[in-house]
Amino acid sequence: MAVREQAIPLEAFEAAGPPAWRRWLAGCLRFARRKPLGAFGALILILTVVVAVFSPWIARFPYAEPHFSDALQSPNGTYWFGTDSLGHDFFSRMVIGSQVTVLVGLGTVAVAALLSVLVGGISGYLGGRVDMITQRVVDVWVALPPIFLLITFLSVLGTGGNGFLGLGRGPDVALDPKDGDWIWYTFFRSSVVIFSLGIIFAGYGARIVRSAVLAVKENVYMEAARSLGASNVRIMLRYVLPNIMPLIIILASVNLGAAVLAEATVSFLGFGIQRPFPTWGGLLDVDGRVYGVGHEWLSLIPGLAIFICVYAFNMLGDALRDVLDPRLRGGR
């Protein structure tokens, strides 16, 4: 403790350089110069989040308000993205649907990161028999193609009485009619979707975290900590976790694009968040696939939105990976 008191105070260093926000901005600009595509991805991500957060004010009509006499109009001044077969304003539906993309995308990545750190960390740290058994479970976990497991999960948890833990009660009941613009309206269904996707993604993440933990365990400071009498929990939280943090950030950012794509896929197949709440995948299925012939905008717009987001998030993930940990480059 005495050492710490004598150390030069942190403020002395900060006072010498430019203020923190200037350095942060400079860091961002350097990232943008080195990885223009990554910066483009970050821009799209920020834009999508902003649109999602302000979507009820950006939407020009209530998303479920039918205008029967204006059904299937091509994009025009009143309806920027045209209308669907019931005369819903397609622009409003796309904008409200961005909430699903953002919340399910980020939520899935967060759940996956948490679970993979928990499973991979414990398996790698404890080793021995625990590791053996956990690894066999993970083998089973990743043996099935994700989409098959997802469809089964989502249908089992979504139907049949209250489903698992009471989470999947058929169509969601509005908490309050005026909350209908927000994704909270579909709270039960969206949490089921987030957790199902998160569990699937965690299977692959757990393996990567485990191997990283195994590498960290070899360091001398781990032995030092243990000889000082640090408990397992303390070592895991104070020594292992900070060392695998960059990996977790990389894992999360690389997964974001895949999570958005997976959400769109299950929504397209009809197992995601249910109507009347709009999702991009659902719009592409119900409007684009069914009415697309002759009404091209219905399939072009949601598909393009999904494509741009997935492409941008992939680019951002790749760029972050290159910057944070060049060893992981290549492959894929």
């Binding site: 066999r136 479970v137 083998d139 089973v140 043996a143 099935l144 193609p145 994700p146 989409i147 098959f148 497991l149 469809i151 089964t152 999960f153 249908s155 089992v156 139907t159 049949g160 009485g161 209250n162 489903g163 698992f164 694009g257 794509l261 769109a264 896929t265 397209f268 197949l269 995948g281 592409l284 299925d285 684009g288 696939r289 697309g292 012939v293 002759g294 091209e296 399939s299 072009l300 598909g303 999904i306 494509f307 997935v310 492409y311 992939n314 290549g330 492959g331 894929r332």
Partner: protein, 335 residues
């Protein structure tokens, strides 16, 4: 080699068994009233079906050591016992055999996946090789950005757009003969019955699925090619004065393709996953469509059957790929 083979083979069995146990468990965490629900829904299809039959099929009343929660092991044991004898159980409503239905569906998915793999290799291998030997030229840049686009382009969007664009072949003044190829009748034709009609239905979804794979295969081929081209023996080949064609085809390609081959193990998962979406869009009666149908009609015995077949297929394919890979590249065996 034999030891490696046995060790890997021993891992296949617990994995497949684990998958089936997981599926059984998953289907058992449903609330108990699922039998009531299926019974109520089945009234219009099958009057003779009793509630006891459904409960029996689902195994909700099975007990082990006096405990209902341990009953899933009984149910699992009974089901696995049946599967071992080739009996996958029956549909609740129609009392059709699930095994018979699987027999009809598996060839469709296999054909789709096989064709897609074929298309993806035809596209990806040459472009990957050319892009590597012409590194940092216009060809390379075009091929690489194309492959990145392919990775992000959702196959369900491509499938939807296919119908949107092709659905109007009449308006574009195309003759009937081309229209037949673009938009064949949606009633599925077996490949043994009518190969031409079958191929008309299959080529478009297989092509779209192949595109989805081509991106990653191309990227790996390119990076492997680049690595091999920097090896000493390739430089030796150049300095001997061999023609470019000989250096590339005789010396470089063989070693570059080995890791690409191992990627096929991963691709199988993507192929089978992608087939769900394309089977649904194009109305092909494969395993994916069977799962969607079974899951929406709560035919859980059929769901179990599909998942078991898919899991076994993926695990065994990965095993075989690993084995062939270790034959091709001896370094793997001793790692």
């Amino acid at each position: 080699m034999r030891q490696y083979f046995i060790r890997r083979a021993l891992l296949v069995v617990p994995t497949v068994l684990g998958v089936t146990l997981l599926i059984t468990f998953l289907l058992q965490i449903l609330e108990g009233n699922i039998a009531d629900l299926i019974y109520a829904e089945s009234a219009t299809f099958n009057q003779e079906l009793t509630k006891e039959q459904i409960e029996d099929d689902l195994g909700v009343n099975d007990e082990l050591l006096g405990s209902r929660s341990l009953g899933i092991f009984v149910q699992w044991g009974e089901w696995m016992g049946g599967v071992a004898q080739g009996d996958f159980g029956e549909y609740f409503r129609s009392r059709r055999s699930v095994g018979g239905e699987l027999e009809n569906r598996i060839p469709v998915t296999l054909e789709l996946a096989g064709l897609a793999l074929f298309f993806s290799l035809i596209i990806a291998l040459p472009t990957g090789v050319i892009s590597a030997i012409r590194q940092d030229t216009l060809v390379d840049h075009t091929a690489r950005s194309f492959s990145i686009f392919m990775l992000a382009l959702p196959s369900f969007w491509l499938g939807t757009m296919y119908f949107v664009v092709v659905g109007r072949w009449d308006d574009w003044g195309l003759p009937q003969s081309i229209g037949d190829w673009l938009l064949p009748p949606s009633i599925y034709k077996d490949v043994w019955q009518d190969p031409e009609a079958n191929f008309r239905q299959m080529w478009a979804p297989a092509m779209i699925l192949g595109f989805a794979l081509a991106g990653s295969v191309m990227r790996l081929t390119r990076s492997q090619m680049l690595e091999v081209l920097r090896q000493d023996y390739v430089r030796t080949a150049w300095s001997k004065g061999l023609r470019e064609r000989t250096v590339v085809t005789r010396h470089a390609i063989k070693n570059a393709f080995i890791p690409v081959f191992s990627l096929i193990g991963v691709q199988i998962t993507i192929l089978v996953s992608g087939s769900v979406v394309l089977e649904r869009i194009f109305g092909l009666p494969g395993l994916g469509l069977m799962l969607i149908e079974a899951v929406t009609q709560r035919e859980y015995v059929a769901v179990q059957g599909v998942l078991l077949v898919v899991a076994a297929f993926v695990v065994i394919t990965n095993f075989l790929v690993d084995m062939v890979y270790s034959l091709l590249d001896p370094r793997i065996r001793y790692a």
